[in-house]
Symmetry: C2
Subunit: 150 residues, 2 copies
């Protein structure tokens, strides 16, 4: 059996984080020592690794809680349930990427427009662009997801 810091080292999560996950219902030690120390077995380690993998893919702790409950009794759940969670996450990620790409595009245009030199900023095209609502860019679209908008 592993003590918390041993599980931490093996799982790549910190002891603090493991306790935090426990408080949030994700992982509980399968045993306690007489003194009350958390003791984890091999299955707990696999679970911790599962959580870490899922986190690294971007799943929220809430998603992971659901995935863990499915994992606990796969017979009672379907592939559909799993794909629904995954698809929802993919949609989130894709949406966020689109937002960031719009920002990226705007920032790139701004940088391209400015000399970036040691001139005074009096006529800085970036500053000027920020004064306009659409900063010199026809297609800012940053949080304006008004594709159909005039």
């Amino acid at each position: 059996m592993l003590k918390i810091s041993e599980l931490a080292e093996r799982s790549g999560l910190s002891a603090h984080t493991l306790r935090f996950y426990e408080k949030n219902g994700l992982i509980r030690p399968s045993k306690r020592s007489e003194a009350g120390y958390r003791l984890y077995d091999a299955a707990d380690l696999r679970k911790a690794e599962f959580i870490r993998t899922a986190r690294s893919i971007g799943f929220s702790l809430d998603d992971i809680a659901v995935l863990l409950s499915i994992r606990l009794d796969k017979e009672s759940h379907t592939c559909e349930e799993v794909t629904v969670i995954t698809q929802r996450k993919l949609d989130d990620v894709s949406k966020r990427i689109a937002e960031l790409r719009s920002m990226q595009k705007t920032l790139t245009i701004l940088l391209d427009s400015c000399c970036g030199g040691l001139e005074t900023a009096t006529h800085c095209s970036i500053m000027e662009a920020l004064e306009d609502d659409a900063p010199g860019i026809e297609d800012t679209d940053a949080e304006t997801h008004s594709k159909a908008g005039s």
Copy 2:
């Protein structure tokens, strides 16, 4: 002169947000009425719009505070200062996009691998992938920004 809710309406920021920005040193009304009401003039409106535009491009409030101080006295600042902030923001955004794209790729692979049907999750390939450290994917790289790292 505009009262706060009038500025809010014209600038697209809420009155709450304007007060919050004031507390954070971004925008202060150029006057107060006898009763202590905030009163904003046309320059304040332009400033509020500047802030809103900068926010929509993704600049943090800290960045915007710096941009505003440059805006206040452009003669004493250079294009370089402005591009440094913009470039740093672009780098942030690009890095975040790369992280999200890695997640997106992984999620897409997971979804492609799973039937998504009403079968029990017993052999769900997504669940199986999450059990592995690298979920069936050679190139997770999600928070591993170790391009040069061994």
